[in-house]
Symmetry: C2
DNA sequence: TCCGGATTGTGAATTATTTCACATTCATTT
DNA sequence: AAATGAATGTGAAATAATTCACAATCCGGA
């Protein structure tokens, strides 16, 4: 009877926020921060913050607060960004190329190695420093360049095919922007991202309020 | 003592998924669907689906299922997309221009009217059929063209200034891609969208599993 | 070395969300 | 018109997440 500690989904999604705030504090040369201060800057309650961190260990100093550098390193480890991840993007359309050039990733140890597309008109071009390659080269590229994560930015109807390709190539994590569920083996993790959800949530609240 | 029905956040975020599945069914000329079927296609349990819909009314036919067209219309109304929304995007960088051209919006009655940027090098150009205008023209444009929603895709440090501008222009809904909290009056709704969260969530799960 | 002030870490209480299970209701058949 | 079968709608139960509140502990000063 080992009791498995289950970490709430929402806790994980708040860690990147804490991380970012800690980075700011670090740049401001702040070396110690209380849960009250860190929570306020992150937009959560201080008990929420402390509970979130408590799932992973005891990182604070009672009576004092948290050492910014130390906590930063701990969150880095929890989020798995103390190591580098390399990723490829399938679909060199608007979204794929925008993501490829997005600077937010590099800041977190994430390197976009290549884009892939079935359209020969896009192949061979460069998006910034990143090459656009034929989709059929994905498997070889992934294996040669030690890639771990695949990003899907192709149209919905092509998403399952691309996912299958990524699974066969050995990728263990898929970040899926196509608005469809995809089927993958149990050892592959899929993270869904649906931009329309956010906008329609806003639309819903707006239209409620204007009613 | 009127009991206020509070609708779970998560319920709202599932409606766009149901909507999309219903659209597919509609294209497949399916006119009646059971909660089991609709739920399975949406990746939720059937009781979840029924409970979600029950917050808004009784839309089904006991013993039979849901009329696809009727439910589609009801969800359209709940999400506020039975009317048209017009939006402007502040920040004509990678993300802003990618969003401007994203076809997913038009499909939901959302029209991107213009992009705004402080960089004169970007002003005057067109992104598809959408003009890129100077940031100082935002207020006038919003008022002349009856815009309701503002999208922020500028760097974090510029986000608050842009939000202030949008508030002054009279926008009541803001979709914020900048990774910072912004301060707005109570009558303005802010929807946050942080792409890094999804990727770092994936990174976390991956690194746990590889441990 | 002891004391006072401050802040963490965490069980317990509360609140929110999901699932269960079945009474209710509707369409269809006889 | 009544009986049958099927699937919704929904209170109640179970589970999950958040907040509360305070004991535990640490820092710094006397």
């Amino acid at each position: 009877m080992t009791d498995v500690v289950v970490i709430p989904r929402a806790t994980i999604s708040r860690l990147p926020v804490y991380f970012r705030v800690l980075m700011e504090l670090s740049h401001m040369e702040v070396s110690l921060v209380s849960s009250d201060e860190l929570a306020a800057r992150s937009g959560v309650s201080s008990s929420q913050l402390r509970k979130d961190l408590s799932y992973f260990g005891e990182f604070g100093i009672r009576g004092a607060g948290y050492d910014v550098g130390f906590l930063l390193q701990k969150i880095r480890e929890i989020l798995g960004i103390h190591r580098e991840w390399r990723l490829v993007i399938a679909g060199a359309g608007k979204l794929g190329t925008a993501l490829a050039r997005y600077s937010g990733f590099a800041q977190h140890g994430l390197e976009v190695a290549a884009l892939f597309d079935i359209d020969p008109g896009k192949q061979g071009k460069m998006t910034g420093k990143i090459p656009v390659l034929p989709m059929e080269d994905l498997t070889g590229f992934v294996q040669e360049h030690d890639i771990q994560i695949g990003v899907i930015t192709v149209p919905a109807q092509a998403a399952q095919g691309v996912a299958d390709l990524m699974v066969r190539a050995g990728l263990k994590g898929i970040w899926n922007f196509a608005p469809v569920r995809i089927e993958v083996p149990d050892d592959v993790i899929v993270q869904y991202e649906d931009l329309v959800v956010g906008l329609l949530t806003l639309s819903h609240h707006l239209s409620r309020r204007m009613r």
